[in-house]
């Protein structure tokens, strides 16, 4: 594929021109900046010129693993599966604490949550598996729909603090309801630096209870 040389006042303008000329979306172009020419004082005045070379990236096949990033792939999966549920959603992607965050927004996006976030968790789990499979690495992926996880996190925090107060008052340990790993982590993190409270997970399988105990009395026995 031949590359073309385009000139523009700004980088964006040059890319846009290249996109029109090659009749291809900007994201499918390989761009190289050849020359940035700034005239005038600090480039603020006068003319500015950017020359780029652009060409259409050779493989545009969305199935091609070399092309897709894990982010794009997980977004595709999410959109495809939602489409089966007749949902068309708006997905925003960003990174937080080495996690890929997929923020979903949409009028009937709540259908993706389910009872106690059941559907959302299933979806997240399957997408994580598929991404791990394709890219041969375990990436943490978190999907949130219409702020559901944030709300849940707040509710959990309030609940855990209330239980901790009770533990402090009575000196006895308390168990939470069964929680999934993500929810447990929220509670563990919350009391990580607390001098009065320690937490640990108890039970088998995917959902475990968190035991909130007073410090120095981990078994809750006197």
């Amino acid at each position: 594929m031949d590359s073309i040389e385009v000139e523009g006042k700004t980088y964006e303008e040059a890319v846009k021109k290249a996109s029109i000329e090659l009749n291809e979306e900007e994201k499918n172009l390989d761009i190289e900046v050849k020359e940035v020419d700034t005239k005038g004082i600090l480039g603020l005045l006068g003319s500015k010129k950017v020359i780029i070379t652009a060409r259409v990236r050779e493989t545009k096949n969305p199935e091609n693993p070399v092309e897709l990033t894990p982010e794009q792939y997980s977004e595709n999966l999410l959109k495809e599966i939602s489409a089966f549920l007749d949902l068309s959603l708006n997905v925003k992607i960003y990174h937080q604490n080495e996690r890929i965050m997929l923020l979903v927004q949409g009028d009937n996006g709540d259908l993706l949550i389910g009872k106690d976030g059941e559907i959302l968790d299933a979806l997240q789990y399957l997408i994580r598996l598929a991404v791990a499979k394709k890219f041969k690495q375990n990436l943490k992926i978190l999907i949130d729909v219409n702020g559901y996880r944030e709300k849940k996190k707040k509710a959990l925090t309030i609940m855990a603090k209330r239980l901790a107060d009770k533990v402090k008052r009575t000196g006895r340990r308390i168990k939470t309801d069964p929680l999934n790993p993500y929810e447990r982590r929220i509670i563990h993190t919350l009391f990580k630096h607390n001098r009065f409270i320690t937490t640990k997970s108890e039970g088998e399988g995917h959902t475990k209870k968190v035991v909130i105990s007073p410090v120095g009395n981990k078994d809750g026995k006197r």
């Binding site: 495809e80 007749d86 559907i119 399957l126 598996l129 598929a130 499979k133 394709k134 995917h206």
Partner: protein, 77 residues
Amino acid sequence: MLKELIEYIAKALVDNPDQVRVSEIEGEKTSVIELNVSKDDLGKVIGKQGRTARAMRTILSAASTKVKKRAVLEIIE
């Protein structure tokens, strides 16, 4: 549509996507979705303690309420 959904998910999880076969046996109220995969991929669609299968069933039932039906996923061994 339910069949295609399971097919799509299963193909993303297995090593041999070309050996994924899904059939739908439609009843009046209930559909049975049968998923066939290569022997080596069975573990992939079932998962630890059946977690993957359970996740697929969850998504499937979400999709089936949309079409006002019940759907059961059977993984054929």
